[in-house]
């Protein structure tokens, strides 16, 4: 599928080869997302429901890992207090690249109900982590989280590994030329 699509790609010949390899690598990463078990507040209850039999997160290839070293993404499910923010940041730093973050629910998105008067709440987890997908809801339905998961998988599928590196190298070269 990838090869046929790439044949019409305007990028050129190396786009065919690298593009196909890239497709394979992206496919592998998007279809095998292992998530870190990290529940914070009431959203974690809904998160558990997604794991349970009725919604079954494993359909998407998501297997729970308790060690951040082996996890691919973390679902911030709930209120991130300032006390927890330090820990969360540390856990995220322990994760192996490539890593992703889903912010689940209002509290993780922007502080939610605590955005105005919460002296102890981090107003949006994007202040400490690069969030990939925001799932709104308070808490979101299990299906809404699954939709967020599908969006994340789409995003991983669209990622550029080699082409980005090539583009960056070209930009670097251009910058050097300009500098001279």
């Amino acid at each position: 599928m990838g090869l046929l699509n790439r044949l019409n790609d305007p990028i050129g010949l190396d786009g065919i080869i690298f593009g196909t390899v890239e497709d394979l690598l992206n496919w592998g990463r998007s279809k095998s997302d292992w998530y870190l078990q990290f529940g914070l507040a009431c959203c974690a209850i809904e998160f558990m429901a997604v794991n349970a039999s009725h919604f079954d997160m494993m359909r998407y290839g998501c297997i729970p890992r308790s060690s951040p070293r082996q996890a691919d993404f973390v679902i911030i499910s709930g209120t991130v207090t300032l006390k927890m923010a330090d820990r969360l940041k540390r856990v995220y730093e322990q994760m192996a690249e490539p890593k992703y973050v889903i912010a689940m629910g209002s509290c993780a998105n922007s502080g939610g109900p605590y955005w105005e008067h919460g002296y102890h709440v981090l107003k949006g987890v994007d202040r400490i982590l690069p969030v990939d997908v925001y799932v709104p809801g308070c808490p979101p339905r299990p299906e809404a989280l699954q939709e967020g998961l599908i969006l994340l998988q789409k995003k991983i599928r669209m990622e550029e590994i080699f082409r980005k590196r090539k583009r960056l190298a070209e930009e670097d070269l251009a910058n050097q030329m300009n500098y001279k």
């Binding site: 300032l82 006390k83 923010a85 330090d86 502080g111 981090l122 107003k123 202040r127």
Partner: protein
């Protein structure tokens, strides 16, 4: 046993320490006491066969502008009666005896009151913050509390 009967009994034993009985039609009737000997009063309430208050249901702090209030909700499992004790301490020196040696459950309750209101329970074996981080400044539930601008590099206001 009704609160007014308990009040009379306490008045006999502690005299000046017990200030008044406040009857409140819309909520609990409470006994107002002075903070200095609160541990002795509570020990008496626990050990006396007429009261047998063996359970501290709730300990909470209050901010009364000039003073800080502490409310004790007591319950007797055996005699099935309850009692509310209230006491007040000045805001600049909020000291009063700890109840940890009377009821073990007061441990975390007092730590929480210390965390949120800065009430200093003397004689508590481990009076450190329980909910906020250890390096948190100020007592969040006091009415004059201002939320910090920054904590560990994270901006706090929205």
């Amino acid at each position: 046993m009704k609160p007014n009967e308990i009040f009379k009994e306490l008045k006999v034993h502690f005299g000046e320490e017990i200030t008044e009985l406040v009857e409140n039609p819309s909520s609990d009737t409470y006994i107002s006491v002075k903070p200095e000997k609160i541990d002795e009063i509570c020990r008496f309430l626990r050990d006396n066969d007429a009261f047998k208050f063996d359970f501290l249901t709730l300990l909470s702090g209050l901010d009364l502008k000039e003073k800080l209030g502490i409310v004790y909700h007591l319950y007797s499992m055996e005699l099935k009666h309850r009692l509310v004790l209230k006491t007040e301490v000045p805001k600049d020196s909020p000291n009063l005896p700890s109840l940890v040696r009377v009821w073990r459950t007061a441990d975390w309750h007092e730590r929480e009151a210390f965390d949120m209101f800065g009430i200093n329970f003397q004689g508590h074996h481990n009076l450190i913050r329980i909910l906020c981080p250890y390096d948190w400044e100020g007592y969040p539930l006091r009415k004059d509390y201002k939320e910090p601008e920054e904590y560990h590099g994270n901006r706090v206001p929205y």
